[in-house]
Symmetry: C2
Subunit: 208 residues, 2 copies
């Protein structure tokens, strides 16, 4: 299982979504949509082994967490507008502490970023923070380590255009979350997801 | 220099673009937009060393070629809608055999996919076709070969959701264009671009 957790610092937390302005008034919801597209869509297929979490901290009602389950997803297309329409439906609901399903495979809850991370740690997952200053991913997840660690499942934590706060980074460090880096350049979160999937795909299906 | 050439078999060839329906009536223009986003945008920056070509073969007036020059691009944002608006402007113009600038860094012309490929071959570029059955990219572009071949520049040819025709593939094979593969899975063209950039970024900036 592969899971991604995006902390979306400015992403909107109500259903009042202007589809003509995902980047501005919706707090970079375009980026959230592209992340979902990269996390869950293959050409002519869906990644059934992947779950994507987006935790929104924008106005008017933060936080709201969304969960997209690849194996259950239906009718969503990989374009930003289609995904934004499904996000709009989920954000228009009332949110409680438990996950509730909005449309097939898409869940919403009143949950904090940190709580979702803690849950993954408690589940025993391999949890990594994607960070420019981390170890190159190839040194951590590679042919030698993969077979040994894969059954625990992988969780990758991503920041948006603003990134994680110092407090978040300290929280993750205290939990022993390892930092890994993908590139010498600063990439968009969706580009990071494509690269992570590629590293794991090659290990899973080609053994390299 | 890095260049990408996308053959967009169904992408619209007039400015009659419905921004609410990029995947359907615009012939998967959403995919073209995501490719441009992946090819030219970094987090908080633009890839000035990259040019992206999209050659449209959809209705009503195929072909129309578009060229996006990273070093000249202005005011475009990485979201699909923003990019589609600039594409709409370029496709609304009259197209001649020569490139004409529509907005800063965005050019349009009445050109065939094959002619653009031929031009790159004539310029002496390293031209590759991204193909599931190709050699793994790491076997072709790696630490040993990179310094030697990088000055000629890299060109990567991509298919869309339909892919290249047998005739296109034969044409490229006859020109000696090498096939390289990125993944054991069939990916979207924009996901391929993210992976190619990552391979080159690591070689260029980390030497690995």
């Amino acid at each position: 299982m592969r899971e991604f957790i995006l902390k979306a610092n400015r992403a909107i937390t109500s259903g009042d979504i202007n589809l003509k302005d995902l980047p501005g008034s919706c707090g970079r919801l375009d980026l959230v949509c592209r992340c979902i597209s990269s996390a869950l869509f293959l050409s002519h297929d869906i990644r059934r082994d992947t779950i994507f979490y987006s935790v929104h901290y924008g106005k008017p009602n933060p936080p709201v967490a969304l969960k997209f389950v690849g194996s259950q997803l239906k009718r969503v297309s990989p374009d930003e507008r289609s995904i934004a329409l499904f996000i709009k439906k989920a954000l228009s609901k009332e949110h409680g502490p438990q996950w509730r399903e909005s449309t097939p495979g898409i869940y919403h809850a009143k949950r904090e970023f940190k709580d979702i991370v803690l849950e993954k740690i408690m589940e025993g997952r391999n949890v990594y923070l994607l960070h420019m200053k981390g170890k190159p991913i190839e040194e951590v997840i590679n042919r030698r380590s993969y077979r040994e660690i894969k059954d625990r499942g992988f969780v990758f934590i991503l920041g948006d255009h603003i990134g994680l706060s110092e407090e978040d980074e300290r929280f993750l460090r205290d939990l022993g979350v390892e930092r890994i880096s993908l590139s010498p350049l600063e990439l968009h979160a969706n580009q990071c997801i494509d690269i992570v999937h590629n590293v794991l795909d090659k290990l899973e299906y080609r053994g390299i």
